[in-house]
């Protein structure tokens, strides 16, 4: 994948640029647009009298994001570090602002904006935290392996993650996840992380009884317990909480091996609510079948593989940690999204990176990709 650029002008060392990743990003984004069109055209036609409404909106933002990605990728990533603290502080300001003057949609204040321009600050928080933690860990040096170092990282993460979680639980979980992954890579210790991971899996395995107990102790809200019960037995709640999950399962199940064919989904016709958002993977399954769904997962896996390569070869720890943060972010979202859609874990609103509809999400994902490509661009090819 190395580019062989003829040595010109300055005697600059040959630089690497991860075109594989770039093309993967382009492919996923375009595929996402196709799937957004496919899954939303029916609803968009009814609602806006324009089948391409959602697709066009997303396409414009994705195009803008792509340009920004290229620009960022051409910059030296060390430069971002200068903004880390500012961005971190800004995260708090934005999150507080959104809870006060946020734009309400579906009963939740998640958007900030003026006029037609609006964005979800939670997406900004993710990227800010990645940069902030990377910078902190680099500055700590070997202290990261000490208890204090770990605690410092946790103290940096918990407050902002908490505020985000209060606004949007899923984003809070993702932010925690990103910090967890970055700490895992940075820290020499292994077992505490495995213990945490196992704890999480165990919690999931005994979610039903645990949730019931928690609810009885008034720690869990009724609706949260409801979600867990729905997860355990979606077919028992077809019209209430289980509706979305069950409709998603219908879509997935209808797909079979090769699917109905692109554009042939029936579940997108109002059955799966807002099919272009969180549940878009179920429509992919219905239209493209197991074959298409597995292909999508494999492409994400390839993307993560590229992240690993870039992180391994990053010129310094800061670059490596930036890439690891992005890797964690994307991996967590992909895994959680597909897990939710396939009802492997309880339902929580997580989008599928690059594919789900959402302007803020795709814009900041592009920025993150820009950062990763920037890191890749700093890799000096030996010889």
């Amino acid at each position: 994948m190395a580019e062989k650029r003829p040595v010109k002008k300055k005697n600059k060392p040959r630089r690497f640029y991860d075109y594989s990743l770039l093309f993967t990003v382009i492919f996923l984004t375009v595929f996402g647009l196709v799937m957004i069109y496919s899954s939303s055209s029916y609803a968009a036609q009814l609602k806006f009298n324009n089948a391409a409404f959602f697709m066009m909106k997303q396409a414009k933002i994705a195009l803008g994001g792509f340009v920004i990605m290229i620009i960022i990728s051409r910059m030296d990533y060390h430069w971002y570090g200068k903004f880390a603290v500012f961005a971190y502080v800004l995260s708090y300001i934005l999150m507080i602002a959104v809870s006060l003057v946020g734009i309400e949609a579906n009963g939740k204040k998640r958007w900030l904006g003026v006029g037609s321009l609006s964005f979800q600050p939670t997406e900004f928080v993710k990227i800010a935290l990645i940069v902030m933690l990377a910078l902190m860990i680099v500055q700590m040096g070997k202290n990261i392996n000490t208890r204090n170092g770990v605690i410092l990282v946790i103290i940096t993460t918990i407050p902002i993650a908490g505020i985000v979680a209060a606004n949007n639980l899923s984003s809070g979980i993702i932010i925690m996840g990103i910090a967890f992954v970055m700490l895992f890579v940075a820290c020499k210790k292994k077992w505490p992380f495995f213990a945490c991971g196992l704890g999480g899996v165990a919690l999931l395995a005994f979610a039903g009884p645990v949730a019931t107990v928690l609810q009885k102790m008034n720690i869990l809200h009724d609706y949260q317990l409801g979600r867990i019960l729905v997860w355990l037995e979606p077919e028992a709640y077809p019209s209430t909480g289980g509706y979305q999950v069950l409709q998603g399962l219908y879509a997935i199940g209808s797909g079979g091996l090769v699917g109905r064919g692109l554009g042939e989904s029936i579940q997108k016709m109002g059955f799966v609510p807002e099919a272009q958002n969180d549940m878009i993977f179920s429509i992919i399954c219905e239209e493209l079948g197991l074959f298409g769904a597995v292909s999508v997962i494999l492409i994400f896996l390839f993307m993560i593989y590229r992240f690993m390569l870039i992180a391994d070869n990053a010129p310094d720890l800061f670059g490596a940690l930036l890439v690891v943060g992005v890797m964690g972010h994307i991996a967590i979202q992909v895994i959680l999204n597909i897990a939710v859609v396939t009802n492997t874990i309880p339902n929580t609103g997580i989008t599928l990176p690059f594919i789900s509809y959402g302007g803020t999400s795709v814009m900041f994902l592009m920025m993150e990709m820009g950062m990763v490509l920037s890191v890749s661009n700093q890799i000096k090819l030996e010889k």
Binding site: I252, G255, G328, A339
Partner: protein, 586 residues
């Protein structure tokens, strides 16, 4: 830094491995869902998406004996406007007002009303609907539908019956032959979205509808129309409440006409046919409608009165307790046990033979015959003639005979039954029994349905009806024909006499209950030709004003009907006609 890097690489590799495991796990989950659970979920999804839309099957026509269509379907249009889609409201108002003949203001109100769909007019002729379509007005909808249509409006309304909103029969033959007429609705199985809107181009399963079968009935429109006219005339002339006429083929029970005036309009069956004020409560209105829809020939019973003497006479002759020339004497009454039962002729008929007694419609003579038979024998014949049960006609709602129980029947009851009082039967039961006695003794089943033919004409089903032979001997039957011919020729039924035809018959004037009201039902049952009956007819006139004797008001109506329908049926008058005309003019 180098050692650091190695450990970071190791960790990143481990991370990648874990993520790889997680994704593999998800792929496994997908395989489980999409391969092993696929059938389960796709079946559930299919269930959710499929919508069944029925294609209405055209209801079968009903045709008369000559093939004239008397019940069919008509395509009608419903004109409606959809507010949101109307582009030029002024033009819409102008066109609809012009075409439909409705005030502009009224249409404008509907066009401007903000609603999803406003119906302007229903049951619009298809031609007019098509014409409105040619304007291509945005927002104006012309929807087509089948509607049951009866070309003769009121003809035989209580026999044919009508259909309801789902094209199902509600009363009359429409109910009885529902299974032949209704056909089978077709189905379109379509896929639909969550809002129930059909998905275009989705594969659809289509099951074609099967049109209903054509039902041919024995009713003859010409005879029916003539009888209806005659019934209306006598009803009007006599100020009667209602008049019913049944015309039947006595040999096989095919009913050629069944008139119950006042009839109602089958194309508008929910409007009362009287001028009475429409009652406020829905229940009262429904009661009145149910009354209007009743078929008095079949659904109601009455005391047959003197026409029933045919049965007593036949029973007497059949058992041999009486002969034509047996002598009786009528002092104007007969005492049975402690009861004095009067004859209609107060002074009495004096000495008379049995034949003369019948011709005079003398009550004491028939009481004597009844007494000679005795309760057991009389009851035996009552049952043998089929009077106990229903006639089995193919019109729903037939009323049962109301008769004394055998153990409760004393000589007084026997005496009154002998001349047609103290029990009730339907007019149809009377004509059926009379027909069976004069047709040679075969109890026939009165009916309308002849055959049902599939819409494509490929197969047909001819209905068969039971016939009980030998309820009286051929000999008795012949004697009865002779007696009844004499009744018309010289007796109480002489107003039914018709030049050139041999007519037999019997009159009756029944007092309605309670007797104190002095309300009557005048009736006459007649048949022709008397030697070999081809047609038998019964008229009942309910509550005539003024003269109410059956022989005076009912018999001439039947004579008039016979005069017109016999030639129509191909029964030409005999030579006697000219002779008698000559005689009279001479």
């Amino acid at each position: 830094m180098n050692s650091n890097k190695t450990h970071h690489r190791e960790k990143i590799a481990l991370l990648f491995f874990l993520l790889f495991l997680a994704m593999t796990g998800l792929m496994g989950r997908l395989i489980f869902l999409m391969i092993f659970q696929s059938e389960h979920y796709s079946a559930m999804a299919e269930d959710l998406h499929e919508r069944e839309r029925t294609i209405k099957a055209a209801r079968g026509n009903i045709i008369d004996a000559n093939g004239t269509v008397i019940a069919t379907n008509r395509t009608v249009c419903t004109i409606s406007v959809i507010h949101n889609q109307v582009k030029k409201p002024d033009e819409v108002v102008a066109v609809l007002s012009k075409e439909l003949g409705i005030e502009e203001a009224e249409i404008r109100k509907k066009v401007e009303k903000y609603s999803s769909r406003e119906i302007i007019k229903t049951n619009v002729d298809k031609a007019l609907g098509d014409q409105i379509r040619t304007y291509h007005l945005a927002g104006v909808k012309v929807d087509e539908d089948y509607k049951r249509y009866y070309p003769y409006d009121t003809m035989a309304s209580k026999v044919l019956g009508f259909t309801g909103g789902d094209n199902q029969g509600i009363i009359g033959l429409e109910v009885k032959y529902e299974q032949y007429l209704k056909g089978m609705n077709g189905k379109i199985l379509t896929m639909s979205d969550a809002a129930g809107i059909e998905i275009e181009n989705a594969a659809e399963d289509r099951i074609e509808p099967i049109s209903g079968q054509t039902l041919q009935i024995s009713l003859d429109v010409n005879i029916q129309k003539y009888c209806e006219q005659a019934a209306y005339q006598v009803m009007e002339k006599k100020g009667a409440k209602k008049v019913s006429i049944i015309v039947m083929n006595p040999k096989n029970g095919e009913i050629k006409a069944m008139v119950n005036v006042p009839e109602f309009n089958l194309n508008d069956p929910f409007t009362l046919n009287t001028n009475t004020e429409i009652p406020a409560s829905a229940k009262e209105k429904q009661d009145l409608l149910n009354q209007m829809w009743r078929n008095p020939c079949i659904n109601d019973t009455y005391e047959p009165g003197s026409t029933f003497k045919i049965i007593t006479a036949a029973a007497g002759l059949e058992s041999g307790v009486v002969k034509l020339d047996d002598h009786f004497s009528c002092p104007g009454f007969r005492v049975v046990e402690d009861r004095k039962i009067r004859c209609h002729k107060v002074g009495g008929h004096g000495s008379e033979t049995f034949l003369q007694g019948m011709m005079n419609s003398c009550n004491p003579v028939l009481i004597d015959v009844g007494q000679r038979l005795g309760v057991d024998n009389y009851y035996k014949y009552f049952e043998q003639f089929g009077l106990k049960g229903k006639t089995g006609i193919d019109v729903p709602g037939e009323a049962s005979t109301i008769m004394h129980r055998k153990q409760d029947m004393g000589l007084v009851e026997l005496a009154t039954v002998s001349f047609g009082q103290s029990f009730q039967i339907t007019p149809l039961q009377l004509i059926t029994t009379a027909a069976s006695i004069v047709n040679g003794g075969n109890r026939i089943t009165p009916h309308f349905g002849v055959k049902a033919t599939t819409a494509d004409g490929e197969s047909s089903h001819t209905f068969t009806y039971p016939m009980k032979e030998g309820i009286v001997s051929a000999q008795t039957s012949e004697t009865m024909r002779y007696i009844l011919e004499e009744v018309v020729a010289e007796g109480s039924g002489k107003k039914a006499k018709l030049d050139g035809y041999r007519v037999g018959g019997k009159t009756a004037t029944s007092e309605k209950l309670p007797r104190s009201l002095k309300k009557y039902i005048s009736s006459f049952v007649g048949f022709a030709p008397a030697n070999d009956p081809e047609v038998i007819a019964l008229i009942t006139i309910d509550e005539p004003q003024g003269i109410y004797y059956g022989g005076t008001i009912a018999a001439p109506v039947i004579a008039d009907i016979f005069k017109n329908i016999l030639p129509y049926m191909g029964i030409e008058p005999t030579e006697e006609k000219t002779v008698s005309t000559f005689r009279i003019s001479g």
